[in-house]
Each structure stands twice: as C-alpha cells, then as structure tokens.
C-alpha cells in the first residue's frame, strides 16, 4: 500500500525533518515498503494488557529525596552557544 503524501508530510512535521521534492518522493517509496512490512502485525489479534508487563518496581525502590550538587553551568553549556549562562534559541514564533 502506498503511503499518502499528506501522511508523509504530517510525519515530517511531527519529526521536524525537511526533504526536498526528490527526497520526499524517495522516502515515500521506502516508507510504503516499510509500512507494508509493519502491516503484517495486523493479523496478530491478541490485546495488550499494560498491567501484565511484570516490569514494575516497588514504591520503596524509588529514589530518596536528597538534593545533591548540580553540574557547573559552563560544563553543561560547553557544547553550544550560550549567553549569560543560558542556551541561545532563535526567536520562537507564537
């Protein structure tokens, strides 16, 4: 089944990815094949029960509320542009 253009465009929006026209055409074809493969799962008909994963922990195993020293801001900001100890973000259009 071919994936519709508007579906791919929506996915690009959610993923914050740009494609040029050619790239979009290519990825549409690839995604169609991939989704066909994923569609095989549709013939499986058991329901998921989130209480039966068996991976829960006990309440007493959560972290004790103790504050510890933080990391120096310069170190956290060392991989990017910063100003006045803050991350620099271009204007957010509201």
């Amino acid at each position: 089944m071919a994936v519709e253009l508007k579906t791919i465009q929506h996915l690009c929006e959610l993923s914050k990815l740009n494609y040029d026209e050619e790239g979009l055409k290519k990825v549409m074809g690839e995604m169609s094949d991939i989704i066909d493969l994923m569609d095989e799962i549709k013939s499986f008909d058991l329901e998921y029960d989130d209480t039966k994963d068996g991976c829960e922990i006990r309440f007493c195993d959560t972290r004790e509320d103790v504050a510890e020293e933080s990391t120096p801001a310069e170190k956290l900001l060392s991989n990017t542009e910063s100003s006045n100890g803050c991350y620099v973000v271009p204007k957010v259009v509201e």
């Binding site: 929506h10 996915l11 914050k16 995604m31 095989e40 549709k42 922990i57 956290l76 542009e81």
Partner: protein, 482 residues
C-alpha cells in the same frame, strides 16, 4: 609479546608478572591500530593521550599491588557510550563535536578498575543498522574480507577485536548489535539480560531494548568484562536490583544433562543452508558433550520484525527528539526556532536514522497507535510467554545469530526492508529481555565466520557463558589475515 591472539587473562598474567608494562601494552595496540586500522576503519577516534595517561595510572595500581581484573587492560568503547571529556559521536554528523560532560556508569566502573581506553569504535549511526555502513565517519570493513561488512551496529567494536586492535571492546545491543557483528567478525559477544548493565550514559536508541555488553575473543573474556560492568545503578531505574554472581564461576563445568532447545522457526528456509548446517553441527557436538537437544517452537517469530521495528522506532523517535541543535550537536541555520531545529535535524541525521524517526512517529501518531504500537506491545507479551514456555523444558536455546554470513558492502543499500529482515534471529531476544551470546561455530568455504547464539533465562548469563565456553574448548578459531 604477541598481542594478536592474547586474551584478557593472558594480558593480566603478563602485566602482573611485570613481563610488560601497561604503557608498553597499550603502545603495542596503538601501534597496531596505526599500522592497520586504515584498512579496517574500526575506530572513529583513537584516544592516544587518554590511553597513555590511564596506562600510567594503571601501572601505579599494579605496582602498588592494587590491580584487579581489568587494570591496565586496553579496551575499545563503542562511540555511543558517554565518556567525560572524550568526543562521543554516535557515528552521526549530529554529534560530530559532542564532548559529554559526564561519564556513563560502565565507564565509571571501568575507570575504578583502571582500564585503558584505546579509542571509540565505529558503529551504525545511532546504532541503527546491521552493517556499520551508516556510520558518518568510519564505514568499518570486515577483517576477514575487506569487501564485506563487519555487521552492526557494533561493527567497529567487533572488527577491532577480530583484528586484534583491542583484546576486547564494549558494544551495545538493541536488536542484535553485539551478537550479529560478533558473528560476522568471528568473535564472541554477549548481550546481557535487560537490566543487568546500567544504561546510564548509553545514548539511547530504544530504551526498553538497549543493553551494553562485551565483545571479546572468547566467552571467558566476556565473563571477565561483564563482571566489571554489571550491577544495579541508582542512576538507571531499569537496572535490576539483584545480586551479581561471578560470571566466570561456572566456566569449565561440564554441560552434561544441559537441555538445549532449537526452535524450528530459526532453522527455516529463510536461513542460509551453510549457516543452518554449521549451527546444527555445533548442536551435535554439544550433544556429544552430554547436552540433550530438545525440539520447540517460537511461533511469534513470524511477527518479530514488525514488532521489533515498531517498538524500537517509536522509542527512537522520542529519544532522538532532543537533538535540536540548541543544547549540543550540529547547529543548522534558521531565523526562527522552528527553522533552526528542522535544518539541524535534516542535515545532522543520516537517511536511515530519519526513516526510523518517521516510522516511529507513524506508529505513535494519533489514529495509528492502537494498530501499530499497542499491537507491538501485545506481541512483546506474547513472545515473552513463548520463551517462558520453552524455558520450562530447556535450559538454553540455540539459534543461528544471523541468517547469512557477512555480506558484500553495498548489497543491502537502498533496501531497508531487506536490511530489517536480516535481524530476524536476534530481535526477539531483546524483545523478551533475555541474555544471548554469539560465538563462532565455523567458517564458510570462503573463510567467513559463522556465528551461533545461545540464549538463556533472564539473568542466567552464567549458563550461556558456560555453554559457549564448553563449545569454544573444542573449537579452533582462525584469525583474519590483515
């Protein structure tokens, strides 16, 4: 000293006997890397300075009689495990210049032992792939045949061990990323039980599936390395609160009476006959050692690929959203926030990573969630159930590690579906959170290694290490000629 075949045990003995210093030892490996890695491309970064500094520190520990299993042992570390002050790229343009300000828990543990970091092993970008050809910086080649892939995603780690650039390495495994390259490169690699090793500091691909694990020359060295890195970590809520045994303890114990299950789905026509043949022969050998072969079935394997890709990509889409060019990583251009993040992500990520992000968001998006993501979680429960049933009548499960031996570079290019299908033998182990080890069980006529996987009950790494070790005792590996 001939480092090309040296195990961690032998290096330990030599270091403690002062036959070689830690600095000399790491020098030997660095020299070999310098001479030969140009052909293999297993490293993204060779950390000469760090290596020499830590070798000096290690030597001091040795001289003071304070050495432990890994003191002075040089290791390669996959480039998705954060090391404070050492560039960690995940083989992505996105993180080309990223220097983490903190250590992964496994690195803290290795530091405490006084290990020596040789360099950062290449991998598929963000661990997404099975060939190491999606690496933005070092498309690693198979040491057994430089025209073939080393497997992936921990292809750099496996190739480095196979080519004796390091006696052992750390990899990570989300759907086979330790076991499959180990199989392609003729080395031994173990994916521990989910929760056995802390994931703190491992750049996440799929959080519910990822595990860090060792790749080494044999099961014994894997056990030594595993001893050093596992255990509960207060920084990882999914790390298991349970006692850690000495993983070398059961090595050498006879496997008489051990029940080995071989699920029929793993030996179908979809698997190369040469692979089936060698794995079956290995099973027969183990039978001769007293193991009992048991027939069984994992019918859910039919759905394993979609289940795996839906879960893994859904988590990946969310995990990789933080790469926006603002806090770290590749910063694109744009006058507004929206433009900047789109440009950063579009140019920072490679094609396969982008496909998986799109697929993940597809599986999670409104209107598709129940049909895909939730269905995949139901399958996960089903697959766990089927494995539990098998383990009621068997102690371990034996399967091929990959449907084929290493294939030619470029053979799967532009065919994501073919690439995904190649993960069929390994992904269910991650879905079920089980431990699995791959060890070499033979070679093709052309000399390419073939791997088999031994899968155990949750937290029973001991028995799969014991089984792999028992096999390795009667097997003579052939080193690659490079």
């Amino acid at each position: 000293m001939d480092i090309t075949k040296a195990t961690i045990r032998e290096l330990r003995r030599a270091l403690d006997a002062k036959e070689i210093s830690a600095k000399e030892l790491c020098g030997e490996y660095l020299k070999r890397i310098k001479e030969k890695d140009g052909k293999v491309l297993s490293f993204i970064t060779v950390t000469e300075n760090e290596a020499e500094q830590s070798a000096v520190r290690a030597q001091k520990m040795i001289d003071e009689g304070k050495s432990s299993a890994l003191t002075g042992i040089p290791l390669a570390v996959k480039d998705n495990i954060c090391i404070d002050g050492v560039r960690t790229t995940c083989a992505s343009r996105m993180l080309e210049n990223f220097i983490p300000p903190y250590n992964a828990t496994v690195i803290e543990k290795l530091n405490a032992e006084g290990y020596v970091l040789l360099g950062r092993a290449s991998m598929d970008e963000f661990a997404m792939g099975g060939s190491t050809q999606t690496s933005a910086f070092a498309k690693t080649k198979n040491p057994y045949d430089l025209e073939c892939v080393p497997g992936g995603s921990s292809g750099g780690s496996a190739a480095a061990v196979a080519a004796a650039f390091a006696p052992a390495a750390l990899g990570s495994d989300t759907g086979g990323s330790i076991r499959q390259p180990s199989s392609f490169c003729g080395v031994t690699g173990i994916k521990p039980t989910y929760g056995r090793v802390s994931r703190y500091g491992l750049v996440a691909f799929a959080s519910s599936l990822d595990q860090i694990g060792p790749i080494a020359h044999d099961a014994y060295d894997c056990a030594i390395l595993l001893n050093a890195i596992c255990g509960h970590d207060r920084r990882d809520a999914t790390s298991a609160r349970r006692d850690v045994p000495d993983f070398t303890e059961k090595l050498g114990e006879p496997i008489k009476g051990l029940k080995i299950a071989m699920p029929k789905e793993f030996f179908s026509e979809d698997i190369d006959s040469v692979v089936r043949e060698h794995v079956t022969n290995a099973a027969n050998e183990l039978e001769k050692q007293g193991a009992v072969l048991v027939e069984c079935s994992i019918p859910g394997l039919k759905y394993a690929i979609p289940a795996y890709y839906l879960i893994a990509c859904a988590e990946a889409a969310s995990n990789l959203s933080r790469f926006d060019g603002i806090k770290y990583g590749f910063r694109g251009e744009g006058r507004t926030y929206e433009e900047l993040i789109r440009d950063s992500r579009s140019r920072g990520f490679g094609e396969e990573v982008k496909r998986r992000i799109l697929l993940g968001n597809y599986a999670l998006s409104s209107g598709y969630y129940d049909a895909y993501y939730k269905k995949a979680l139901a399958l996960k429960q089903e697959i766990i159930k089927e494995y539990n049933e098998v383990f009621e009548k068997a102690d371990v499960i034996l399967t091929p590690t990959a449907p084929t031996p290493a294939y030619k570079i470029g053979a799967q290019d532009n065919d994501p579906v073919k690439m995904y299908m190649a993960d069929i033998c390994t992904v269910t182990v991650n879905i079920a959170g089980l431990p699995g080890i791959s060890t070499t069980c033979g070679y093709t006529d052309g000399g390419l290694p073939i791997g088999m996987s031994i899968i155990g009950r949750r937290f029973d790494e001991q028995t799969i290490l014991q089984t792999a070790n028992a096999w390795e005792q009667g097997f003579t590996p052939v080193a690659p000629k490079i």
